[in-house]
Symmetry: C2
Subunit: 340 residues, 2 copies
């Protein structure tokens, strides 16, 4: 069975393109609240689980010992746009343990933020590993490794004690065994493990509520959520979806995008966890999917709900600014009442 069409792209009144996908919403007790499509097929969550990958940094005491600020913790959970503030803060994290850009294993790429990329080119600059959207996460990894007395070299490989801790944390949070057959290599060279949307939604319900977690882990999750809610710019960037959405919703929603059309979210006040995947890997589709789910479950007043239109129904304009189309939720995500 193929997954349902969940997002339509309109040109004028006609549907030009269609995205299919799957999604799950779980409560913190592990009860299923909503599902569509195949939620048991494992998908690579990619960057959507960066906050879970930061748990060892917290639970080891490294973050506290090294005086991580909220902005720094947000950057450890980030897919950042490579804006100057992100780059500078990643370098600051590295300095906590005397590490440098050459210790990073994420690779260099031009800033994912278009304006930041052009600004860098205008100065005649070239990107370093600090511009990689994962540089904050990797800097946090190096701090955790250093604090634990582990070798920095090879910190990104599956056999390194840090990656083993991250693997164990992921397994516990999502409640699935993640053996080698689930493993791929992520864009930033660390392991990524394929996980069902069921498991991811369950894991984010726990991450958002702390329910079912040991006290130290619940506290770590809470600190990360508070950091991101306080500093949403550092988890994304000026134009990025997560930053824009969380700047509007505050601590009511924790969201995180992943490459290839994955999105995870927690609605802490409701104890809900959300996970979606656009089959084709399109970010534009997963953004509309997660925004439509958030609007359905969060109790928003009419004005707040209206302000989410830009996320659930983004309008398309051409190079001269003419309105040519829009995206909209479809099928199981089509607009309806906001009741659960």
């Amino acid at each position: 069975m193929s997954n349902p069409v969940v997002v339509e792209v309109l040109r004028g009144e006609r549907v030009e393109s269609r995205h299919s996908g799957a999604g799950a919403v779980f409560d913190a007790e592990g009860g299923i609240v909503l599902e569509f499509g195949d939620i048991d097929r494992p998908v690579f969550p990619r960057s959507a689980v960066k906050a879970l990958q930061a748990l060892p940094l917290m639970e080891s005491g490294a973050a506290e010992a090294l005086n991580f600020t909220s902005a720094e913790l947000a950057l450890c959970c980030a897919s950042h746009a490579g804006e100057p503030e992100h780059v500078a803060l990643a370098a600051q994290i590295l300095r906590k343990v005397g590490a440098g850009v050459d210790d990073l294993a994420c690779g260099a790429h031009w800033p994912s933020g278009v304006a930041a990329s052009r600004a860098l080119a205008r100065t005649g600059g070239e990107p370093t590993q600090l511009h990689n959207n994962c540089s904050g996460k990797h800097s946090g990894f190096l701090c955790a490794a250093c604090h634990n007395g582990w070798a920095l070299k090879g910190y990104e490989t599956p056999a390194h004690p840090l990656q083993r801790e991250i693997h164990a944390a992921l397994e516990a949070m999502v409640g699935e065994r993640l053996d080698e057959s689930r493993r791929g290599t992520d864009g930033c060279s660390i392991p990524t493990y394929a996980i069902s949307l069921r498991g991811l939604a369950r894991g984010f319900a726990r991450f958002g509520s702390g329910q079912g977690l040991a006290p130290a882990r619940a506290k770590a999750a809470q600190r990360l959520r508070e950091a991101v809610a306080a500093e949403p710019f550092y988890v994304g960037g000026s134009e990025r979806f997560d930053t824009r959405l969380m700047s509007r919703l505050g601590a009511r929603a924790f969201t995180k995008t992943g490459a290839e059309g994955v999105f995870c979210a927690a609605l802490p006040s409701l104890g809900l966890g959300l996970a979606v995947k656009a089959d084709d890997g399109a970010g534009r589709a997963s953004e509309v999917m997660i925004a439509a789910l958030i609007r359905r479950f969060l109790k928003l007043d009419a004005a707040e709900s209206g302000r989410l239109d830009a996320f659930t129904n983004p309008q398309l304009r051409n190079w001269r600014g003419l309105h040519v189309g829009a995206l909209r939720p479809a099928g199981p995500l089509a607009a309806q009442s906001t009741t659960a």
Copy 2:
């Protein structure tokens, strides 16, 4: 019925994302050679029909009277990367009729070629309408309008005599009535008409072979094909799929990409026309789709066929150059013998 999965994206050994789509291959007599998915649903071909939109430029005598070179004609059929050569040639076309950049209605955008875009930023420059990937087509439009004694202003609007001629040429080539319900506004502000893949494949079979066309139209199509085959750089750019593929295959394949996952092609020596659409609008999927079809139908020796691997099975590397995955044709496009 949903369309079949036709392209898979692998991370390691696991399928990470899936693209569904439809496609049609027709011969010049209108006989169907191959089909998969829904080939009757109209889709916006976008830039995939630029060569058909250039027919009035040829048939009016404008191209001959204004001494269009092969490179200039290729640019009129192009979605170019905005490299300096493309920009300069578009300006040269405009000068033929004393028009300038302000007469263009395509809008400005940064060069679609990443290197060209960075190079422009490095010089402190800003893009003009000449950098728009459609600037060659629009410059050709202005030449056709001027040659016919029509107003330049409004040349992009549906009611302008030039757009009416283009509309009539499209209807005749694809054999479908394209009424207002089929019309949307393209990224470059001209009308785009939704056409079935059946019609597009039939139209490109005619465009590639001249069969079933009046002599003047057959000659116009031949001249455009020869121009693109002679100057493939100008129909795309250094890194663009059409340029790379046609540089390898010469006059044996005429291909043209369109936004939102459309691809059209003609195999003139076989009298075949091809049209595909990735449901979700992904260019990476439509590229693999059209390359897989071309490899199936063109008679290639083993070495030539092997050189198409980069198009049918592009390999994915991460920011450090590690091999992390690949794309591959799937379902009805899965690798098989090269017989039709």
